[in-house]
Point group: C2
Chain length 485, copies 2
């Protein structure tokens, strides 16, 4: 027996994922759509490397993010790390290139980030962040533009239902001040509890703001220990609704005492309502929601979150807000900023579930079938003509070159059209064009197929060589209009 | 004095680079163009993570690549590493998902790769690879398609001069066999020497194939120690020219003895010539060059390299070839493959030098100037109308909101049009549209400006609100047609 070669087992790193064409095609499409929206709003791309100096990422103080870093050593022995988000690198650029990146700056960035936390379903150690931020202005107009972007992204992607929820850290601060909750730990605790409203319901929230409760598994959940009046105040506040964004601000005003803090918060929300009206953002798709508490300990002004009510299980598909501490670790001055981060994987998952994103097995429009008896140069000539006409064309070359193998390749990839040059056709200067989508059996396709048939289109036609492109285009156009219905 | 906060110095890792908008915009444009070409040829995107298990990357034997790896540890303590190319991850996918990725497979991939070697000018530790490969066929038709892609990329990018050089490992093997050079070390040595032909010239090559020589710095360069006849044979061979690709094959045939090896090599090149003709690849832009020796110890059949003669200093901007050992480390069978890798950074540098790629400071088409006395909602309404018309629009919000600050922002970014809503205009339901490119002073613009003026276009017009979009579009169209001249 011959000695066996030592083989390596092909495997993906734990907590990481590969994107095969079916996923990668749809991802690319969504990414280009979102980039288009960002560019329409005046955002420019920026790119930074995956690796950064450790102190750039972790700052001078350590925090929980520190433990999640994929750390390594540079060839020079310095401590470096894979980035865990795109915000810190953006802040670095602003501090590092004050002349080239003069504020106000609108930038977008897309790229992988890495976190060494525990992987789980839908939770990966490498994932894509897709951010757009406006730095250098504290005008609420910029916040309004971010909200308009979130709405336009969802609209452009044809999400069947979506809602951008908007709150403001300053409003909550005014509420907490009114409630006499001044200690940071208690404030955070209240926010954490309010954030669970949707998940555990009003009664449980009431208990968690007060004495605490025991959860379903029997574990005790300690409470914030607030008195009944205070709890009532908080719950009344977060339950405020209204007929419009302006109406909600008015109703919130009724519940808050007239202090500097509350006036500033209400003024800001009133202006945001005006700005959103100017931007044409309709009330249905972007609403003020005082119960939104996500990220409020990080953000300093308006906060936003996009949910898809029909795919609620995926949670927030975009989030963002105003954070004025952006460059704090690098500079002795503040650069105010507001922005949004698209959760690309979640967004894709939600829209796929709702069948808004149909997985595409291919972007190829035509397979040119190569038969053994025909010189390869001749079949490639056909491919070349189709490409010159802007048609995405694959010429089949594989180990097995039977017609059957080639057509089953087209079938597997759902390539809609095949062009076949047989010996007879070749001799006559003709070519066969086969409508694979129209000619396909199978229940799910019967309806479409009948439609094509009705329109008098046969599954296969033999045409003159110089009519090939026109015939392929006709079939592709037919598929498109059938799909649009 | 108050205690000073400890600040982190914002800095980029040594050997790494940031892409500010001027570079990032042009990069994105080139990337989308190339992706478009890949898709037109039937290639589908694939994505793999940045990190891989060490043995997946390095194989079972160690090699020089091993030392260049950025290695780290997974949270589970396994040896992992940043990928150093996109080819090994592609091979892993082919071996790992034989059912989902049935060959033949055409995939493209773009992404960063990392090498811990010594950084230098134009040499970075993180750089972008951009590959297209066809796996699962050993047909030379696939090699021809790769060459056609290289040509089409250069053509689509409007490179003013370019040449795809083509050689074949099998041809060189036939030559080496004929010269009686059988030892692998000597073969590699010969290829290394021939590869330097362009750089050091014929006379030096002659010496290096023979007894060796002393270079300009006085260092001895050991020779291959071939005799004069053999050297003559090699130099005659690599100097072969011809009037066409087919002619060059015929001329090479004259120099090789009639052996199995030489017949196979010549047949393959003859077929490649036919295939390229079928694909419409013209002789000027893709030629056979027997002196091309780059990467010949890795490739197993045709090899390709794209150069830009007018920007020769950037070297090869695309390279590729056939390599049938793709999945060898994972599987007990071969999957033949051929492909190309675009050297994105070099290609960008070369085309920028030739002014084919003009650095763009922005993609923004209109800056909406916001004046203090006008409600922000009103200026945003204008921005919203422009965007709804598909015009990329930035609304200015910064710390300083004087007209001067806003227009100098537009100037710095070379934003071509400003829309201004002053108090008077606002009262009259009008808006001012300013042609910033046409109205710009400065020598380099005089010509263009005159052209605009001649066309009767003023630098600024005040129009009714409902005529704003049409006027902006008119100005943008004027710029475009002036630029196209």
């Amino acid at each position: 027996m011959s000695e066996k070669k030592q083989l390596v087992e092909p495997r993906t790193l734990k907590g990481f994922q590969d994107y095969l064409p079916e996923d990668a095609i749809a991802r690319k499409r969504v990414i280009r759509t979102i980039e288009g929206v960002f560019e329409k709003y005046g955002f420019l791309p920026l790119e930074t490397p995956a690796l950064e100096y450790l102190d750039v990422l972790s700052g001078t103080g350590g925090d929980e993010v520190n433990q999640e870093l994929f750390r390594l050593e540079s060839p020079e022995g310095e401590e470096i790390s894979l980035r865990f988000d795109l915000t810190v690198p953006f802040a670095r650029l602003l501090a590092q290139y004050p002349d080239k990146l003069k504020v106000p700056v609108r930038r977008y960035a897309i790229g992988p980030v890495w976190r060494a936390d525990k992987p789980g379903p839908g939770r990966f150690r490498q994932f894509t962040q897709f951010d757009a931020d406006i730095a250098g202005t504290d005008s609420v107009a910029a916040d309004g533009e971010i909200i308009a972007i979130m709405v336009e992204i969802m609209q452009t992607l044809r999400a069947p239902s979506y809602r951008v929820l908007i709150n403001n850290r300053k409003l909550i601060d005014a509420l907490l001040e009114d409630c006499g909750i001044h200690e940071e730990a208690s404030q955070k605790h209240v926010l954490r509890v309010v954030d669970k409203l949707d998940k555990v319901g009003l009664d449980n929230i009431r208990l968690e703001l007060g004495p605490g409760r025991v959860d379903d598994s029997g574990d005790p959940i300690p409470g914030v220990q607030l008195d009944g009046d205070t709890i009532g105040k908080i719950l009344d506040f977060v339950a405020v609704k209204g007929t419009s964004r302006a109406d909600i601000v008015a109703n919130l005003g009724q519940l808050l005492p007239d202090t500097d803090l509350s006036r500033r918060a209400l003024d800001e929300m009133r202006e945001l309502a005006e700005v959103l009206e100017g931007l044409g953002v309709d009330e249905d798709h972007a609403c003020f929601d005082p119960s939104l508490a996500r990220g409020l300990d990080y953000y300093t002004g308006p906060v936003f979150e996009t949910i898809i009510p029909k795919a609620k299980e995926f949670g927030s598909v975009m989030g963002g807000g105003r954070y004025n501490g952006l460059v704090g670790r690098f500079l002795d001055r503040e650069i105010p900023a507001t922005g949004t981060s698209v959760g690309l994987d979640r967004l894709m998952a939600a829209l796929t579930k709702l069948k808004v994103i149909e997985p595409s097995k291919t972007t190829v429009q035509v397979l040119v079938v190569s038969l053994g008896e025909i010189p390869k140069a001749e079949t490639l000539r056909l491919a070349s003509e189709l490409r010159a006409a802007g048609i995405r064309t694959e010429a089949y070359f594989g180990k097995k070159m039977r017609m059957k193998d080639q057509l089953s390749h087209a079938d597997r990839h759902e390539i809609p059209v095949a062009v076949i040059l047989g010996e007879d056709e070749y001799a006559r200067g003709e070519v066969s064009v086969k409508d694979l989508l129209g000619g396909k059996a199978g229940k799910e396709h019967i309806e479409k197929r009948d439609e094509y048939r009705k329109a008098g289109k046969d599954a296969q036609v033999t045409v003159k060589r110089n009519e090939m492109v026109a015939n392929v285009k006709r079939i592709l156009a037919g598929h498109e209009s059938a799909q649009a219905r």
